[in-house]
Symmetry: C2
Subunit: 331 residues, 2 copies
């Protein structure tokens, strides 16, 4: 197979990766040891890192282009949750000894597509041999006015808790993928796309600067991530289950099988923004939501205390059978 032989490290960088850096002058065409990042006076640099490992975060059959896009989007989602504007990224690419150039071509095509969509060029990185499977690591850079980064901490007792978009679609996509759960084909297509191509909520996140008291992106699951925000703010989160925004497809699926509400509330990979804001700012949140064309729904509140309570419509606590995702099983 000629497409799989003779690709040296320097060729790989020059042929596949350097073209992804042309929009970043400080990347020096990937021909130097390091890159220079632009930081304007009065701005701060936000940095975040997410890695994806073959067999853990993705399977080779997921499709190289979708893997590339998810890799960039999960990092962009972290920038969005902090209110930052994307600058660009560093890439760690670990490949087998004889890289599959078809895979690589599709992977780079996915990177290019989302780099262009989000103004997020490649600045540099490292390309290594990885006998144990494909390794992908991104360190993403963004900028914002000094002092304006949205934190997980900072929520206040009495704040309303909001979430963007809809919750649970990606978790239902994972149910199909891992547990072979069947839904209507339209629903399955939708869940699959929500799982593999999350949308970083950049415009809304930037609009939350100076408005929200705390924010994060929902990657581990709504309940667990609400717990992170509450814990970092020394508060308790109260989630009203009936208020959690569901897509039409998810609403239908949960109606058919109410047990799936657990999956929806605790499943990961939504990449929506969860944020705490004073009730006095409700009209500003509504205006921001309209201006960026993205729903922002009040799903509960923050109170003194600790942990997360999920309430049903009568205000009684719901007991969930799962919590959320973490690596290494947990204790």
């Amino acid at each position: 197979m000629p497409a799989q032989t003779g690709l040296g490290e320097f060729d790989l960088i020059a042929r596949y990766l350097a073209p992804l850096s042309t929009a970043a002058p400080g990347a020096f065409n990937l021909r130097d040891d390091a890159a220079l990042l632009p930081v304007q006076p009065g701005e701060e640099l936000v940095v975040t890192t997410d890695a994806m490992i073959e067999g853990v975060h993705f399977l080779a059959k997921d499709g190289a282009e979708r893997i590339a896009r998810k890799l960039l989007r999960v990092n962009l989602s972290d920038l969005a949750a902090k209110g930052a504007k994307p600058i660009g990224y560093q890439l760690i690419l670990g490949l087998p000894g004889t890289p599959d150039e078809t895979w690589l071509t599709q992977f780079c095509s996915g990177l290019r597509r989302d780099q262009e969509a989000f103004g997020f060029p490649l600045y540099g990185g490292d390309t290594v041999r990885s006998p144990g499977g494909i390794i992908l690591g991104v360190t993403a850079f963004g900028s914002l006015p000094a002092g304006s980064m949205l934190r997980r901490s900072g929520a206040q007792s009495g704040d309303d808790l909001y979430v963007t978009g809809s919750i649970g679609d990606a978790a239902l996509g994972l149910e199909t993928k891992l547990n072979h759960r069947l839904f209507s084909s339209a629903a399955m297509l939708f869940f699959d796309s929500r799982l593999h191509i999350p949308t970083p909520r950049l415009a809304l996140g930037q609009g939350l600067r100076g408005l929200a008291h705390a924010a994060l992106d929902v990657s581990d699951g709504l309940v667990q991530d609400a717990g992170h925000l509450a814990a970092q703010s020394n508060l308790m989160a109260v989630i009203e289950a009936a208020a959690v925004p569901l897509s039409l497809a998810t609403r239908q699926v949960v109606q058919d099988d109410p047990d799936l509400l657990d999956v929806v509330l605790t499943g990961g990979d939504d990449y929506e923004l969860l944020f705490a804001v004073s009730p006095s700012r409700a009209s500003q949140i509504a205006a921001l939501s309209r201006s960026v064309g993205l729903a922002a729904t009040r799903i509960g509140r923050l109170e003194s205390g600790q942990g997360v309570v999920v309430q049903d419509q009568s205000g009684s606590p719901l007991t969930l059978n799962r919590t959320g995702f973490q690596h290494f099983g947990g204790s």
Copy 2:
């Protein structure tokens, strides 16, 4: 083995990694989605990435503390080569499903030791499960006055080519490790330490700002890296083999077996700085070398042309049997 069970991702971060971030206020104790990097007005941010993969760059038996220190030092060496002052780093840590806490404790102890030595705290990162072996990735940040970064390009015809310290010690350490080559035990200890604990030449690199025309660190091998500098500057590098600085141990070994000169000139992992400077600056280089206590030796020059020529003492070209290191075999 209780030490290997029950360590969840959040516990791992809180117990092992968060203590490494205390010197970095913008790391928020690793409790947020992102970190804030300090960049002073008038400074630029330099960024570089290096990954190390178990079975490719290191073996588990190399010792976790030494692996950690090399991981930081190869990244710090890139910052040194660009003239940057270290700020801190992001870490990707891929571990088996049940992390070995003894390994992890030693690894973090190595990180701590060199973080403190170089003023280089942890800002954040990602911790993932890696069934295929340990994965280590660092994205390192440094700063320098705007416009002063040392590049691989920019050398001029007639420039002298210098290298710091001594060349080939690490390559001889690798000969022992991979090819079971035996030298005196004192020499083997020295070569091994040069291979596993390289010294980033930070003070000398910072002193080269505004003085050298081009610089890089010797990681792939002296000849290959001289080729990189020459190619990026559209010039030819001429290396005078007899001028290349050798440690006492390496000089002895090459006297005993002249065939090892190939290994010395083309082996990687020296992490010395190679730089191009106008002959008119020789006394400034000598003064810088004295002030930081590190040898800087003229080993040749840059001329119009391309490629690298290694000359013997009569000026005749030497033919080498190897070129240098790259991943994926190369074409």
